[in-house]
């Protein structure tokens, strides 16, 4: 095949290196790479199913007013008789309970496994196949690489967390028109909570992924971190009867932060399965913050050792 069909053309002007473009480039391409193959795509699709199922349940439940009132009174411990005397504040609180339950009980598991599927490979593969040398030879900073990889992992996780939950919220608001007004401000909060939840997971999995060359160990280490800390905290809480041991569980801390986003006060207005009162937001934020900081430090150290400035 003739090689020199046309002479090599030089660019007329050279764009300056821009971090923002680099971040989006890595985010796009590595995001697409994470979704390559039937297993990652399949997992994303399966994670949408609960959204539909819960929406149908909500539809069936809201056909007669009494069942809805029953649920509302149950949650808010009040005795309203009809829709119009339920104050906006209660609708908001019931809706945020729905969102909280949806994420912690259903979508949280999909996101946990999804974090391993989409995140474990990100840095480990680059190190194993020395693809890292390609990034290093480009005019980008180490923060661009890290933020780009974070975006690549957060995108599918957001899709898992926010889309089904948002869909159910929308269904609830449509089927119970009275609740639509007060819940409007819940949507941006849901998105913010989803972003926080996904980003924390992404930061931790990137830290773990930069520990070694094999994404296999990153996957196992992530599951060990998630399930073993949960099991340990349950055992210690039951044995010692003192719920301070809740903070050992990565999952519990993540849920406390989620609850704070949804401004659900853990003490009085909820009887959902929730960490007991003396497990405060501050301690959870501290622990998750330290874990995230450690993970970021690990990734940056690994990236800097590869000579990104």
């Amino acid at each position: 095949m003739p090689i020199l069909e046309q002479v090599y053309r030089r660019l007329d002007h050279h764009e300056p290196a821009s971090s923002w473009r680099a971040v989006w480039a890595i985010g796009d391409q590595c995001g697409a790479m994470a979704l390559k193959g039937w297993f990652p795509k399949g997992w994303l699709a399966v994670s949408q199913i609960p959204g539909l199922v819960v929406a149908v349940i909500i539809y069936v439940m809201t056909r007669n007013e009494s069942t809805v009132l029953e649920v509302v009174n149950g949650m808010a411990r009040t005795g309203y008789q009809s829709f119009n005397d339920v104050p906006g504040e209660t609708w908001y609180r019931v809706a945020s309970n729905l969102v909280y339950a949806m994420i912690t009980i259903v979508q949280g598991w999909f996101a946990t496994v999804g974090t391993a599927i989409y995140g474990a490979r990100q840095v480990a593969d680059d190190l194993r196949t020395s693809a890292f040398e390609v990034y290093v030879a480009r005019p980008i900073w180490s923060r661009d690489y890290v933020i780009g990889k974070l975006i690549a992992v957060v995108k599918p996780l957001l899709f898992i967390l926010i889309v089904p939950t948002g869909f159910c919220l929308l269904a609830a608001n449509l089927f119970v028109p009275a609740s639509a007004g007060p819940c409007l401000k819940l949507y941006p909060i849901l998105i913010a909570a989803g972003i926080a939840y996904a980003t924390l997971n992404a930061i931790v999995i990137l830290g773990i992924s930069s520990l070694g060359k094999s994404s296999r160990y990153a996957t196992i280490t992530w599951f060990v971190l998630y399930f073993l800390t949960m099991a340990v905290s349950v055992i210690l809480t039951q044995s010692t009867g003192d719920s301070v041991w809740e903070i050992v569980s990565y999952r519990a801390n993540l849920q406390v932060i989620l609850a704070s986003f949804l401004r659900l006060n853990p003490f009085e207005n909820l009887d959902l399965e929730f960490p007991s009162p003396d497990h405060s937001l501050a301690s959870s934020a501290l622990i998750i913050g330290c874990l995230a900081a450690l993970s970021l430090f690990l990734v940056l150290r690994r990236v800097r050792s590869g000579r990104l400035p």
């Binding site: 095949m1 090689i3 020199l4 069909e5 046309q6 002479v7 090599y8 053309r9 030089r10 660019l11 050279h14 764009e15 300056p16 290196a17 821009s18 473009r21 680099a22 989006w24 480039a25 890595i26 796009d28 391409q29 697409a32 790479m33 390559k36 593969d125 680059d126 196949t129 020395s130 693809a131 890292f132 040398e133 390609v134 990034y135 290093v136 030879a137 480009r138 005019p139 980008i140 900073w141 590869g306 000579r307 400035p309």
Partner: protein
């Protein structure tokens, strides 16, 4: 003996030391634990194509990585395109295209996505990067393989993909580490033709390789390295200057009368059975016609009559000093 097939006869060879220096290095020293990779390297390259020649483990790759800031030198300094290697690497890497020795690619990513991503990392926006990627891939001859994954390509095509990523942001300087490694002769010749073409367009380059024909065909200046030290630098022509005018001859027909005819004309001849060729010393201010007359008078056919220029391999082995294991 490595045949010196000429790929593109007559391409202009600039003098390596003219013009402002593109790459300078003063007493660069790098050691990985006990193993000393660079042992005080000092050199200066002007514009044009320069070769870094040496056996495996001579420190060539390490030097290229130090110039690009991928490896921090223990001591010594240097600068590339005016940017110091100790300073901020981002502007240095913005103007340099790097083609790594190993297969540094993201497995599973399509070639077109891979090249356009590299363009975006160098500052191009999304659309222009994709357009540029298509153009560069067509130029290196991968227009057929654009939509295949990088790791499914053959060794030759992977090298072209690497060259494409090095060119996508239109660098002023190309650092090529073993550009034709693992390629078969047909592919190798095309890759060298691409590199010569790039040189003609005005891109300076540093080619680090242990394949001597690559350097001979492409580079003006060459630095021969071994065990982390630069042993000799100079233009390719100076290294392979043919001091003695010996000619390689091959004939068809019986040897006796031909040797006698040559002897009568005062030509000293050495016969080398294995290769079946003769090495004849042309006397002072005599014309090659002498050989043709001898052949005609002896009634033998003349199959080959070539000035045996001293190939780089002979220069290389001479400089390396024939050490059986030049590398550690």
């Amino acid at each position: 003996m490595i045949p010196t097939e000429t790929i593109s006869p007559g391409h202009p060879r600039t003098d390596p030391t003219s013009g402002p220096p593109i790459i300078t290095a003063e007493d660069l020293r790098v050691a990985f634990g006990r193993y000393v990779a660079l042992d005080g390297v000092t050199l200066k390259f002007g514009p044009g194509a320069h070769g870094l020649l040496g056996p495996n483990g001579a420190g060539k790759s390490t030097l290229v990585k130090v110039l690009l800031g991928l490896v921090r030198p223990d001591s010594g300094s240097g600068d590339v395109l005016g940017h110091s290697i100790h300073g901020r690497q981002t502007d240095l890497r913005h103007r340099v295209g790097y083609m790594p020795e190993r297969d540094a690619h993201v497995p599973g990513m399509l070639v077109i996505d891979y090249v356009s991503m590299m363009g975006r990392l160098s500052g191009l926006a999304k659309r222009p990067a994709e357009a540029r990627a298509h153009e560069v891939l067509t130029y290196v001859g991968l227009s057929g393989e654009r939509y295949r994954t990088v790791d499914s390509l053959s060794a030759g095509n992977r090298q072209r993909a690497k060259l494409a990523t090095a060119l996508v942001h239109d660098p002023d300087l190309l650092l090529l580490d073993e550009p034709t490694n693992g390629m078969d002769p047909v592919g190798r010749r095309e890759m060298l033709r691409l590199i010569v073409e790039l040189r003609r367009v005005g891109i300076s380059m540093l080619v680090s390789t242990h394949l001597l024909p690559d350097v001979q065909e492409v580079c003006d200046g060459v630095a021969i390295m071994a065990k982390g030290r630069v042993l000799r630098t100079g233009s390719v022509a100076s290294l392979t200057a043919n001091i003695d005018r010996n000619w390689k001859l091959q004939i068809v027909g019986d040897l006796g009368p031909f040797l006698a005819a040559l002897g009568a004309r005062g030509v000293k001849v050495a016969h080398d059975e294995t290769q079946g060729s003769l090495t004849a010393q042309l006397p002072e201010h005599a014309e090659p016609r002498l050989f043709i007359e001898a052949a005609a008078s002896a009634g033998v056919g003349l199959k080959e009559m070539r000035l045996g220029t001293r190939t780089l391999e002979e220069a290389f082995f001479e400089v390396i000093g024939e050490a059986p294991h030049a590398h550690s």
